[in-house]
């Protein structure tokens, strides 16, 4: 269910993006929009769907997505509705402490937030800057 894309020349120099939606299609679509903006300058992983394949989110898949794109530079997570946030928070807490410190869940709309975050990340910004840019988008 987790569909991570790591282009051969994607370097871990930039903050990575993880997209977590209840719907695999929404997650994939948001990731497509991010890749259209930033190409392979930013690592992007997405996941959607519950452990049984229905709408929902899956802590194990979120963990796998974070681990797939992890870079010490940081990982910004974009989520849709409540359960995606709660499950993402749970996944982040399950990470080893030194990794957890470099992972942030952004309080932003999933599509717009992901595109804004990735655009900021592509410029080499820090996780704090990437998160702030995504969250500025809140209307």
């Amino acid at each position: 269910m987790t569909d991570t894309v790591l282009p051969g020349n994607a370097l871990p120099d930039n903050v990575a993006i993880v997209i977590v939606s209840h719907s695999p299609e929404v997650a994939r679509g948001a990731a497509d929009m991010v890749r259209e903006m930033v190409g392979d300058e930013v690592r992007v992983a997405h996941c959607g769907g519950n452990p049984a394949g229905g709408l929902g989110t899956d802590v194990a898949a979120i963990l796998a997505a974070i681990e797939a794109v992890y870079t010490p530079k940081g990982v910004a997570i974009l989520v849709d509705l409540g359960g995606a946030e709660t499950n993402s928070e749970m996944a982040v807490e399950m990470l080893p402490e030194d990794i957890r410190a470099n992972v942030a869940i952004c309080n932003a709309p999933i599509v717009e937030g992901a595109v804004m975050a990735a655009t900021e990340a592509a410029g080499g910004s820090s996780l704090v800057e990437v998160r702030a840019t995504a969250e500025e988008f809140r209307s």
Binding site: P51, G83, M90
Partner: protein, 198 residues
Amino acid sequence: MTSAAIARLIDAAAAAIRDHAEELGALDRAIGDGDHGLNMTRGFEAIVEQRAALADLPIATALQKAGMTLVMKVGGASGPLYGSLLMAMGKAGEDAPLAERLSEGVDAVRKRGKSGPGEKTMLDVLVPVLEALRVGPADPVAAARRAADAGLEATRAMLATKGRASFLGERSVGHLDPGARSSALLVHAVCDVLEGRS
């Protein structure tokens, strides 16, 4: 706690959820996304599959493992919420009195959900049950049952400010909260075991 008692708790909890999955789904469809019955059933069936292994563990460890199973299997916000409840109840230690154990669990749910009582959630059942146990009632089982029923019923008039139901605003009023319902079901299931009824 004996292996047999742990196995009875697992069976009673899973049966309570399984037997009311339709009802939980209907309550959730009214004010949420409708998956609470299915999600909880998937989580508790996963615990039932581990029953033999869990029953051989000390209760503190069994609770933590069962909680982790809910976290990994449920697929909705109720996974981390109920999972955190059980994990914290386990972390309270092997010999913690029930009220103290539940208190640790309730604190974990508050933190996980960034919520408190009065917001039309599972806490509206769990907090009154905890308060009822804390005063050291003569009949703790009866007190817990009464507190769970009253807490659940009180969610009907509440305005949801947490979770998907909060999107409905005033329209969330007049419906029981599905998470409060599943919590009440689980409280009654535990009470049934304590009374030797299942």
